[in-house]
Each structure stands twice: as C-alpha cells, then as structure tokens.
C-alpha cells in the first residue's frame, strides 16, 4: 500500500494529509450517486409542484427515471457495503489483531479501541459545540480548536451513514415489494415509503445546505475546498479548523518551532484589520512569514 506523507510541501506551503485515494474515490462516488438519486427521487416526492414534470422528463420520464434511481441506488449500497467492510477490516487487522498477538484481548480493550476511533463522537465534540455557540453568540472571540475530525465532520459522516442504512434498506424493500411481502406484512411498505422519502429529504437538505456550506460556500473555503480531490489540507485551513491536531502533527514531525499561532476567530476577509482589535490576532500575516524557513526544514516527500 502506498504510503502517504503526513506533511507535503509544495511551493513552500505545507499541506497536511487527510484522505487517501481510496477514501477520495469513495467520496466522489457517493457524491455523484447522492446527486443523481436526489434528482430522480425528488420529482416523485414533490410530484404536484410545477418543476417536478420537467425534472422527471429530463431523466427519461416515468419509465427511465425509476430505472436510473434503482441502478444508482444499487451502486450506492455497494459502496456502503464496501466502506463498512473496509473500515471494519482495517480496525481488525491493524488494531485488534496486534492486540490479540500481545494476548491482551478482552472486551474492555476492544471497546476502548472502538471508542477511540477518530470518527466516534466524544466529550470534546460536546465541549466544542458549546464553545462554538459561545463564539457565535459573541461571548468570546476564540473559536474552539478542532481535533483531527471536528464535530461537524463527524456529523457529516454519521448523518449520511445512518441515512444510507435507512434509505438503502427501505429502498430495497420498495424495489422488491412483491418478494418482500412474502415475508413482511404489506403495511410495512407504507412505513418503508415514509422512511425512505422523509429520510431522503433530510439527507438531501443536510448535504446540500450544511455540508456544502462547510466545504464550498463558507468564506474560508469559497469557492471550493480542494481536500476532497487532493487529499491534503492547506496549513491555513488546518490551523483554522483542526488546531489541536495541527499542533500534534507538527510536534510529531519535529516542526514544533514552525507552529503557527492559534486562529482566534474566523480569518478576517477584509484586508485591513481594524486597529482596535488587540484580542483577535490576525493569522494572515503570520502565515506568510515562516515560509522561507520551511525549505530549510528539509522535509519533503
């Protein structure tokens, strides 16, 4: 397996490793399938609106559109299965097997490992949410420092995870309703339909508003965050979103002397910061200066 350097330096700027190629491909497939599924599904959910017939016709009308929806849904389910298998096998092979070899295998240890997975929500997330609320309501000028994965990212991960499970399962039942009702009662199909369409609406709105805001439309990343393509996050954003993790990584890589100051609040987008703001440090100017020293650091891939 290809080794990814934790910090890559290009044109004197540091980039921090986030996602490997496999994860990035998974994400792109997921994004594409979600968009197609939403576009083919919503005309049915809102069939009485004025736009529904146009969208439905665009995807081939009532014969073709459901076909596209089903095939795309199947692809998404396969992706879901692949993802789960990959995650579980990685945890098992990299963390639980070594444990077994050491002979320390017991329920307590395994639970600890599972809880310590980077995507599992923890106490820090709760604190961060409270901290963020304080910041957003102007009680403080310091945003909480994010860990490797912030609570927003965990939300972005688990919401579609649960969504895919619910929507996928109910979708399969609706798709194969004749077969399914050999076993389950017909009334369950009503519930499947409700779950499928309501959960889909939730997922669609969640992803297209919340997720897209965080990775596309927010002024920090506008017009588009590139981490989902390159797998590497710029130092600037690393400081802004994942400061705790940033400090840890830099220290680990022996670059403790180059650590940038914490972000404070949001990066101000106006070039001239107002003079009377001693308590909100400007990160933009600080980010430029240490670039020269990076080359001497000699850390290259």
């Amino acid at each position: 397996m290809k080794r990814y350097p934790t910090i890559k330096i290009e044109n004197g700027k540091k980039y921090f490793f986030r996602f490997d190629l496999d994860q990035r491909i998974q994400h792109i497939i997921l994004a594409a399938t979600v968009i197609i599924l939403v576009l083919t599904g919503m005309p049915l959910k809102f069939s009485e609106t004025s736009w529904a017939p146009y969208l439905n016709t665009f995807f081939g009308g009532s014969k073709m559109s459901p076909m596209i929806h089903k095939v795309t849904g199947a692809i998404m389910l396969i992706l879901f299965a692949y993802h789960v298998i990959r995650v579980v096998s990685q945890i098992v092979s990299k963390q639980i097997f070594p444990l077994k070899k050491e002979g320390k295998m017991n329920i307590g240890e395994v639970t600890t490992i599972l809880i310590k997975q980077p995507m599992i929500p923890n106490l820090k997330d709760a604190k961060d949410i409270i901290g963020l609320m304080k910041y957003l309501l102007y009680f403080t000028t310091v945003r909480p420092d994010g860990d490797e994965f912030t609570w927003k990212e965990k939300f972005d991960y688990w919401a579609p995870f649960w969504g895919m499970f619910v929507i996928g399962l109910t979708g399969l039942v609706i798709w194969n309703k004749v077969l399914a009702t050999q076993i389950i009662p017909g009334e369950l199909i009503n519930l499947c339909l409700i779950a499928h369409s309501d959960e889909a609406l939730l997922a669609a709105l969640f992803l297209f508003i919340w997720h897209w805001y965080n990775v596309h439309f927010s002024t920090s990343v506008f017009p588009m965050g590139t981490v989902f393509l390159t797998g590497y996050l710029s130092e600037e954003l690393m400081v802004e979103e994942h400061y705790e993790h940033y400090v840890r990584v830099m220290t680990k890589e022996g670059l403790a002397h180059e650590i940038l100051p914490p972000h404070g609040g949001h990066k101000p987008f106006c070039d001239k910061p107002l003079p009377d703001k001693p308590d909100s440090p400007s990160t933009t100017t600080a980010a430029e200066q240490p670039n020269d020293t990076l080359q001497q650091g000699g850390l290259s891939s």
């Binding site: 309703k177 004749v178 009662p185 409700i194 939730l202």
Partner: protein, 353 residues
C-alpha cells in the same frame, strides 16, 4: 398533496391557438340540424342564474363534434326544446332514449343500463332495503363525474401513440367512403382500447367528492383521493403517466362497467378483504404478489385517529428532520453573522461602558 391538473403560465395560449385555427367544416358532422349554433356559438352567451351560479350557454362546436356526442343532435338530449326562440331549457335527462340506433340491437340507444348499475352500487341514493340513505343528495349523478366525454384516439402503426393514425384511416378508406363514419368509428374504437380519461383526470373527478372534507366527514369516509396522491401510483399519475392504476382500476371488478363499484364490505367489491389480493397480483400489475402485499394501505392518511402507527412514524421523521436541520440552520446563520461582524463582542461593549 393535491391532485390537481397543473396550469402553466400560458393559460391563454390555447385560446389564441383556437382563434387562429379556423373551425372544422361543421357539415362533416351536421349535428346542428336545428341551427342552434346561430346563437349558441357565441362564447358570451351567458347569464347569472337565480342562485348566483354562472350559466354559460355557449357550445364549442369544434370540441363538441370531436366528442362522443358529436353526432347527436342538440334536440336529441335537449328534448324540451322544439322551437326557436325557446323557453329556458330544462336540465337534460341522460337516460332519455336517443334518436341514435344502437347497431347491434337495432334499438334506440339509452344510458339506462348505467342507471341500473349505479343504483346497485355504493353510489346509490338508496340502501339495500330501498330506504333513502342519509345525505343522499351527495350521491353523484351523471354530470358530477362526466362532462361531455372526448375521444382519446390511439394510433397503432409502428408504435402506440396518442392521436389518429393516417395510415390506419387509409386502410379504412379501402372499404368505406363516408369520412364522418370513418372518423367516428376510428375514434370510438381506439378510445375504448384504453382509458377514456387519464389517471390524473379520473382521480380529479373522484377527488371532487372524495377529497371534499365536509362531504368526507358527512359520510364518514377517508380522503381517498388525497391519499392516492401520496402513493407511487398517484405520484406517477400526477406526472401524467398513463400506465399507472387510477381509482377505477382497483375499485371496479375486472370486465365490469365502471359504475359497478361496491362497498368494501360487499363481497362483490374488489376491495373486499377476500378479493383484494387478486386486484394487486393481476398480470398487468404485480404478478406473483402475495395476499400480504395487498395489505399495503393505499389510502393511508396522516391522521392520528385513523392510522396511529403511520402518524407516529411520520411524526418521528418530521421531528428528526426539523430537529436536525433547524438548529444547523441557526448555526449557519450565526456563523455568517459572526463573519459579517467579526469585531462586535459583548465583552468589548462592557469594557467601553
């Protein structure tokens, strides 16, 4: 969700088209032997009735001739009118004996059999014992479901498509020379080979009563048309798919007149517990479907009293959706606000004071 045919922004284009297209030569059909159209061709021929209702006395000749009654003379239905000018016309009795001869029996044509079917059906004004049902005035008569029926011809040449096939007409002309006959016969047969109304139009017709909250309450019914619109069948019907079942496909026994609809408790009804499965698993629909399949609630309403399971299940998802998204929306809004005014602060204000 509302079952309602939709209206684009170009509501009046149809008129303009009509205005530019000249009338078809009416002599082809010649239904207006009494020259009624001298007056009734004017769209403005109208008045306000005694109860404030609009009475439009206009007859669109072109459309009427294209309908199934195109060859019936005006006096054929409006039997009380014998001279011009005439007294206010009485309502038409649809069961009147037409001057038209029904070709197979060679007797005068009448819609009487429909009335017989209707009297036996769930829509009868009288119950089994011949007693008047409560609110019998709500029960439909002909014109509550039917306006002047229009032909919906189909062309079967290489593909099946709506409209008249010139090729087929050519084949008719091999033997027949009377154009009016060819036209009528073709339209009649091909219309009868499929539904004479689109599923959406059928559902709309039913919805006029079965979605009227007051009528539904009076007769202790469910809002059947609205809930149909929530099913995939109804949604596809809304998107103008003609292949999906409408109300009649499930509620009329196969091979019977559509007027023969029965109560769910009636053993003749297709929706009777025992018969329900056979409707769903017909060859054209869901072949192989089990009896459990037909327990799917087509007319499930979002109603706490009637469907508590569905109500709470839906409520759960509604709360989940709102409960997740609305706080996130709030955070988003505050986040934007924070970026817009990065330097405002409660603490600062206090310091200044």
């Amino acid at each position: 969700m509302s079952l309602k045919s939709r209206f684009g922004p170009f509501g009046h284009i149809g008129i303009l088209v009509l205005l530019t297209i000249y009338f078809m030569p009416s002599s082809v059909f010649g239904a207006d032997a009494g020259n009624c159209l001298v007056c009734h061709k004017f769209p403005g021929l109208s008045r306000v009735g005694e109860n404030g209702e609009m009475r439009l006395l206009y007859v669109n000749e072109e459309i009427h001739n294209k309908g199934v009654h195109g060859s019936v003379k005006c006096e054929g239905c409006h039997t009380d009118i014998t001279k011009i000018p005439h007294d206010p016309a009485k309502p038409v009795d649809c069961l009147v004996l037409c001057h038209i001869i029904e070709p197979t029996s060679e007797q005068k044509f009448s819609h009487k059999s429909v009335a017989t079917s209707l009297e036996d059906s769930v829509h009868s004004k009288k119950d089994k014992d011949g007693k008047e049902k409560p609110f019998s005035e709500d029960m439909p008569t002909c014109k509550d479901c039917h306006d002047d029926p229009m032909f919906r011809p189909l062309a079967f040449v290489k593909k099946v498509r709506p409209g008249v096939a010139e090729d087929a007409l050519g084949r008719c002309r091999v033997c027949h020379s009377k154009e009016a006959f060819i036209d009528k016969f073709y339209n009649h047969i091909t219309t009868r080979l499929h539904k004479s109304r689109s599923p959406l139009n059928i559902a709309e017709a039913c919805a006029r009563c079965h979605d009227d909250p007051k009528l539904v309450a009076r007769h202790n019914l469910s809002r059947a048309a609205g809930s149909y619109g929530q099913t995939f069948h109804g949604k596809a019907a809304n998107l103008l798919d003609e292949s999906v079942p409408d109300c009649l496909d499930c509620h009329v026994p196969k091979g019977k007149s559509v007027h023969q609809m029965y109560k769910n408790e009636d053993s003749r009804a297709t929706t009777h517990k025992e018969n329900r499965g056979q409707i769903c698993n017909s060859v054209d629909c869901h072949p192989g479907a089990s009896k459990k399949f037909s327990n799917y609630q087509v007319h499930a309403e979002f109603d706490k009293g009637k469907n508590p399971v569905i109500y709470w299940f839906t409520t759960f998802f509604i709360i989940l959706t709102g409960g997740t998204l609305l706080p996130l929306m709030a955070i988003l809004f505050l986040d934007l606000l924070r970026r817009l005014f990065p330097n405002a602060s409660f603490r600062r204000r206090k310091e200044k004071q």
